[in-house]
């Protein structure tokens, strides 16, 4: 029997989280809890490496599959498997969880065990979302993920955390419940199957496809988030603790994008083409309008949150170009944004831990007391604005290339944001990092500790690696992306559709 690698990746962190909850009975155990959490998260990361090495890049079919019957009465199965789209996202998850554990090392002094356990449990659930091949298993994990995040925002968040936590929860719940109805409809149409791969080949008329596409859109657009259902994100980001923001921006948002690839596009290909105008419009609004909104923010976390929405607009734009560059560009953008936005939130966290303010106006001339930090911050800001040589460039370039093939105007509008992106990011950097030190408290700041240096250095390494040499990433997803595009090309309803 083969090693059930995916099951290990899902259940090991969840069990580890429960062990940590059991161990951490009081403040006297905090340091043990931190070490255990780090050990467990590094172990999960190491477990995920065979996934990268053992993945057959020439095949678009599901790999590392597992299958067990779960609820036979409804034909719900514990079915797992990964393709070229899920592997990079799983690796991103395992890497970032390690970083998040490190980021919470000193900052979190209250309920350390619960904090670490929540992130580990969430890691397991997120890996499950990226590898579920059964729609109901996917749904269960998709929703279950809200619970730890809700607690993370509500327990360790900022002053307005309760409002943000409840808004986050209800927004996402509403979207996902509509997806549930769509899944049940598909279950009925397919004659009682919850297998996602069965849905891919299920013939559905255009009307039903549009209904399904819109129901999925409700779930995924909230998660991405797309304009106009993005309003929960700035609230959640601003109030969440640094670790929560990192996971939210770097991984949770990607689930929306992943959902489009795994569900909307292959299950409703004709509706995807029919409604591409809607998706493209919403993406372009997000790219341009949200970038303008980001420009006027005075709170750093809010600024990065809006920048996330704008960058995720690139992802959805790329997907709905229906060509290789667009799709792969969108995927690269998701991974790269995971590193960059995560790193930027960590940078804000580093400053917040020192002065307990996220206002841009509080800081000026950080470069003088904190040169090392300033170097990192500038690097990530450059990456965020798409400087060639960083991973941010690769994704945006591919998406723009892909949209040029469809309509030059899309490309021009999208490329515009490279300017806006540069404007809001660099303006923030200018106000925070450079200039004269006007504030005594800023002058007395310590530079990065070794712990902070390590986490930022890892992310900086990844940003540069994929910026200079994106091939390992593209190679992983190439076969899957070609097969998806070929699948979308074939209409599900040769007659009676249009």
């Amino acid at each position: 029997m083969e090693t059930p690698l995916l099951s290990i990746l899902i259940w090991f962190p969840i069990v580890a989280g429960i062990i940590i909850l059991g161990v951490g009975k009081g403040p006297q155990h905090d340091s043990l809890v931190r070490k255990l959490a780090l050990g467990f998260s590094v172990a999960v990361f190491l477990f995920s490496i065979p996934l990268y090495n053992g993945f057959d890049r020439t095949s678009a079919s599901m790999q590392f599959t597992e299958f067990h019957s779960w609820i036979p009465a409804f034909n719900i199965n514990y079915a797992l498997g990964v393709d070229g789209f899920s592997v990079p996202l799983i690796l991103l998850t395992t890497l970032l969880t390690v970083i998040v554990v490190v980021a919470g090392w000193q900052v979190i002094q209250d309920k350390v065990a619960q904090y670490m356990a929540a992130f580990l449990i969430m890691e397991g659930i997120m890996i499950g979302v990226f590898s579920a091949l059964d729609a109901m298993l996917f749904y269960v994990l998709w929703e279950a993920m809200l619970i730890p995040m809700f607690l993370i925002i509500g327990l360790w968040g900022g002053p307005n955390r309760i409002y943000a936590a409840i808004k986050f929860f209800l927004y996402t719940l509403l979207g996902s419940l509509l997806m549930l109805v769509a899944l049940l409809y598909l279950y009925r149409q397919s004659g009682g199957s919850f297998s996602i791969l069965d849905y891919h080949s299920l013939p559905i008329g255009l009307g039903a496809q549009i209904f399904i596409f819109l129901a999925f859109l409700a779930a995924f657009a909230v998660k991405v988030p797309m304009f106009p259902v993005h309003t929960w994100l700035p609230d959640a980001h601003v109030e969440a603790p640094t670790g929560g923001s990192v996971i939210l921006a770097a991984i949770m948002l990607k689930m929306g994008g992943y959902g489009f690839i795994r569900f909307s596009m292959p299950i409703a290909p004709d509706a995807s083409q029919e409604l591409a105008w809607l998706m493209i419009t919403l993406s372009l609004i997000a790219i341009v309008y949200i970038a303008l909104v980001a420009l006027v923010q005075s709170d750093m976390k809010k600024l990065i949150a809006y920048s996330s929405i704008s960058h995720m607009g690139f992802v959805t734009l790329g997907f709905f170009m229906f060509n290789g560059q667009g799709l792969e560009g969108g995927m690269v953008q998701m991974i790269s944004h995971g590193f960059i936005s995560g790193a930027l939130f960590l940078c804000v966290g580093v400053l917040y831990d020192r002065l307990h303010s996220r206002e841009i106006a509080t800081y000026q001339g950080i470069a003088t007391p904190m040169p090392m930090f300033a170097a990192f911050m500038v690097l990530f800001a450059m990456a965020n604005s798409g400087l060639p040589g960083t991973s941010g460039f690769v994704g945006e370039f591919l998406v723009i290339l892909g949209s040029f093939k469809v309509n030059a105007w899309f490309a021009i509008l999208a490329a515009l944001t490279l300017i806006f992106g540069a404007a809001y990011t660099l303006w923030m950097v200018k106000r925070v990092v450079y200039g004269k030190v006007l504030n005594d408290s800023v002058a007395g700041l310590d530079d990065l500790s070794r712990r902070e240096f390590a986490m930022l250095a890892i992310l900086a390494g990844m940003v540069l690696l994929f910026g200079i040499w994106p091939n390992p990433l593209l190679e992983l997803m190439h076969a899957s992306s070609e097969s998806l595009l070929a699948h979308i090309e074939i209409s599900k309803c040769p007659y009676a559709c249009r």
Partner: protein, 482 residues
Amino acid sequence: MNVASLSVNLAIPEILIATMACLILVAGLFGSPERSGLLCYRLSIAVLLTAAVLAILGITSDSQLAFNGLFVDDPLAELLKFGICMLSAAVFIYGRQYNLDRNLFHSEYYVLGLLAVCGMMVMISANHLLALYLGLELMSLCLYSMIAFYREDKLAVESAMKYFVLGALASSILLYGISLLYGLTGSLHLPEIRDAIAGMDHSNPALLLGVVLIVTGLGFKLGVVPFHMWVPDVYQGAPTSTTAFIGSAPKIAAFALVIRLLSGGLQDMHDVWYQMLIILALLSVLAGNVIAIAQDNLKRMLAYSTISHMGFFLFGVLAGNQAGYSAALFYVLVYAIMSCGAFGLILMLSRKGFESDLLDDLKGLDRNSPWIAVLFLILMLSMAGIPPMAGFFAKLAVIRSLVEQDLVWVAVFAVLLAVVGAYYYLRIIKLVYFDPPTAPGSIAVKPMSLAVIVANIGILVVMLPWIGALIELCRHAIRGIG
């Protein structure tokens, strides 16, 4: 008539409970009130557990009749009886300290409880309208008295009175419907009624009136909108140990009532009662979820939550087929477990002179008793229907049966209101986890109660890998009624 055709052995759990209730009543006369109370409490729990074991042992048997067809023993009955006995035992255990503190810890309280359980079991196994009515009244009268038992409390007496008046009204409406059916079909045996109706004109006004009256009576007993007015007052006014009892086991019995009447007797009138149930269910889910938001009393909020859950339960029943009934059965079992756990938690938190039934009493619970807080978290998420808790799978089963019936719009409506419902459950989690505590000090809970409540609520997550088997069990039980 000979003894063999009575098949008395099929009713052993009922007979055991009824006999022991009489014995306990006598035993309660000896010794000081404190000691006899304790003795009767222990005996009652032992009796309930024995009955539960006896019930579950018979679950594999086929449908058998006893008492000349008055009484039916099928897998469904055994499953429901098992659930009722287990939950009642749990409720008694939770309520021990509460009853002691409020001078309710008397033998009579437990005798009434046992007799109510006996009534529910008769109702579950009824194959005859009079047996059904007998069980229903035995249960209801005991419940009224269990509320009025707290006679020092004005609110309790008032709510007992309300419950009694409305309960009697409901019973009389039901009885009127039953008498019409009897007049039309000439029988009180459910299978015979079913056969007679199959050969009748379904638009016969008397028959329609009978069905309407029966559904109305059921609506009262279930507490669905617009017959729900008694539910919040009774839940709030009754002593919490009794509310816990009313909120859990009788819901399971109510399922039997609905199934025996609608599926057993009136299956052919499905197209008539289906329309009524859909309206009752929609209104209940709407009103229950929306009004619950405005409550500041926890017991009252749970009462409105019950109303919405009963509406959801009817969504399963109204499909009128085996898939729907088994979804409703699974839903009601999960709901009864959740409700029992919820009131159990309130009972744990209350002390002498402190009811702990206000939402604000829950503030900061996580600081003082983190494990109780985790139980609240699991319970509220399960009630809200958030996976991976069992409550989600119960809702899933029901929504699935709606979609199978082409009632997609009802499914969407139910789902949207689930979001409204999620809000007030989340508010509890917010109070428990995010708010600072108002009073310091952790809660002392008897280890026995703690163990039971951990099992009670823990099962909502722990059952996850075996949920398939449980749903299969419900299907098996429903298939048994044919």
